[in-house]
Symmetry: C2
DNA sequence: CTGTTAGCGCGTTCAA
DNA sequence: TTGAACGCGCTAACAG
């Protein structure tokens, strides 16, 4: 609510709004040196700043970018945001950040609110796997870049981790274990909801082949604990694989509660968003993503799209390599 | 860029903009049932949504709230944001989130950008300790609520953790150690930069009294490690206290590298933003804050302020209690 | 019950 | 070199 308007400043400087506007937009070409000086002084003195919403109404440039993520308290996401904002800051864009809470309905509703606020582009961690669910964004001629998850068929530029390959490589490590594994146990949240989780599972399965792989959706800690106990009692030697950082934390908690030895009783590995798993005894082998890089790349891509919307004809999937940290847990 | 305007919809429905506007604002009182139906249909058919920036230009309500935090990748902050957005969502506010990077200059610049975007209120984790540094926000008649850190003299509503008291209580626990501590060692980032850190230090000092307390600013891991080694070699038994989660992580890493035993060689405790320290052997005693609650409270306070700006006469400092988790590390 | 009109704060012709 | 006048999309008097 910068109370003071261009009109008042113009009056104070003894010129018209038009002249002042030219000054603000660096149109000095048609202006005497004297008036320019005078305007500069009054603007500074009155500490005047033009209103973006009025500007944008005229120019159609809000300098607002919408960011829609699933869960803002997720560590992966916060690093993602770091990367995004660090780039957009340099380009003088502001970020309208919203959270879908993993609900498609909320997501759609809030995406619409973003459009209402006239964002110039959107970065989205999608809850839906159908590309067409986001057609309405294109209809509003707002560029869209997806992040962390893919939709089908390919229609939007997308930046993801090389989930399949990284999980594959980690799975391969099971071969070098001193005490051979008898099976894999992949623990994940609701696995078919998003492409990312499926790809991690698929990569792992292929990596540990020909080992049998069991999949366990993480409902509550107790059920997971029970299953692990069962397996150990059956003399299995499972390699437990966590599909994300939260799941990894849960697994470690269970293993500790049950006082199982890693990697003697069970092997443990997985995706680590915290970069903390190295501190947990005996050092957990993990896959580290680089969300900051992904965020940076996504915002770069988006800004390019904003500046030349014609390029958006071909959707490119860019997959960013994860880093595998081998420690003593497998 | 919702290309389609109220004008076009009005035309399609065979009414004037004014009538359509009344419909959009639920002013059905003066409207025939027939036209109302007709308008409803066309609006739905054309999937029309009014532009917020045009609306706001007229009504002075952008429904935008500015959130300015120091470091978005910080876990504490991400939970803070969770609390903030979860409340604002219910009140139909959108959040413009920016990051100061712990730089006062950037902070001031970006706060101005927020005002340019006509935010209706601001939640700020301040980099400055001087209340007057934020006078320009009041000058723009935009309500302001501070979070996590205090400024002096009291001038803005503020929500913080009860840092002094929580640290005091934790310090007291040193008395019950089996092997008596000979000193305290507080590790912190740049300690006098923000009120929060000073208060944690002060509380701890009073808590462990009459023990002597040494303060160490965390520059790099190596220096910290060297100092710890020195102390142990001098037969000291220090209680190391981490001023925040990042510092705690660093300390644990060092202790592990040096293969020191907790709590035999050193005691370790501190603020834990991750809620992970319970997993690290032998269980680290920590102070857990409740950033989500703080964020929720702050946004509630702000919305109240927006709705009745007169209340802002008295600045209230609200201090929210932390939870102390005693484990085996001290 | 509905349309006409006048701005909100700014950028941009078109004349002067 | 400058200013008057119009319009961006919308809301809100004021008429009718």
């Amino acid at each position: 609510m910068g109370k003071i308007t261009i009109q008042e400043v113009a009056q104070a400087a003894g010129v018209s709004k038009a002249t002042l506007s030219r000054f603000l937009n660096q149109n000095y070409s048609h202006m005497s040196e004297k008036t320019r000086q005078r305007i500069a002084e009054t603007v500074k003195a009155m500490d005047y700043r033009p209103s973006r919403r009025a500007q944008s109404l005229k120019t159609n440039h809000s300098r607002l970018i919408g960011i829609m993520i699933a869960d803002i308290s997720n560590v992966y996401v916060s690093l993602l945001l770091k990367g995004i904002t660090s780039y957009l800051k340099t380009r003088d864009y502001q970020t309208l950040i919203m959270e879908s809470g993993n609900s498609l309905e909320q997501e759609q509703q809030q995406l619409n609110q973003m459009l209402d606020q006239s964002v110039e582009g959107i970065i989205l961690q999608p809850n839906s796997r159908k590309s067409s669910d986001y057609d309405f964004i294109a209809a509003a001629t707002v560029p869209l870049v997806l992040i962390d998850r893919e939709t089908w068929p390919p229609q939007w530029d997308t930046i993801v981790t090389n989930n399949f390959h990284a999980s594959y490589l980690l799975g391969q490590q099971a071969q070098w274990s001193l005490k051979p594994y008898t099976m894999g146990l992949v623990v994940s949240e609701n696995i078919h909801a998003v492409s990312t989780r499926e790809q991690r599972l698929a990569g792992f399965i292929e990596g540990v082949a020909p080992l049998n792989v069991e999949t366990l959706e993480l409902q509550d800690i107790a059920t997971l604990g029970d299953r692990v106990v069962e397996l150990v009692e059956q003399k299995e030697h499972p390699l437990i694989f966590a599909n994300n950082g939260q799941v990894l934390a849960a697994i470690l908690q269970i293993v500790q509660t049950l006082t199982l030895k890693i990697p003697i009783d069970v092997g443990v590995a997985g995706y680590d968003d915290w970069n903390w798993a190295g501190l947990v005894s005996p050092g957990i082998s993990t896959i580290e993503q680089h969300p900051d890089k992904i965020g940076y790349l996504a915002s770069q891509t988006l800004v390019k799209l904003i500046q030349s919307p014609d390029q958006s004809e071909v959707a490119r999937i860019h997959s960013y390599p994860a880093t595998i940290k081998l420690r003593s847990s497998i």
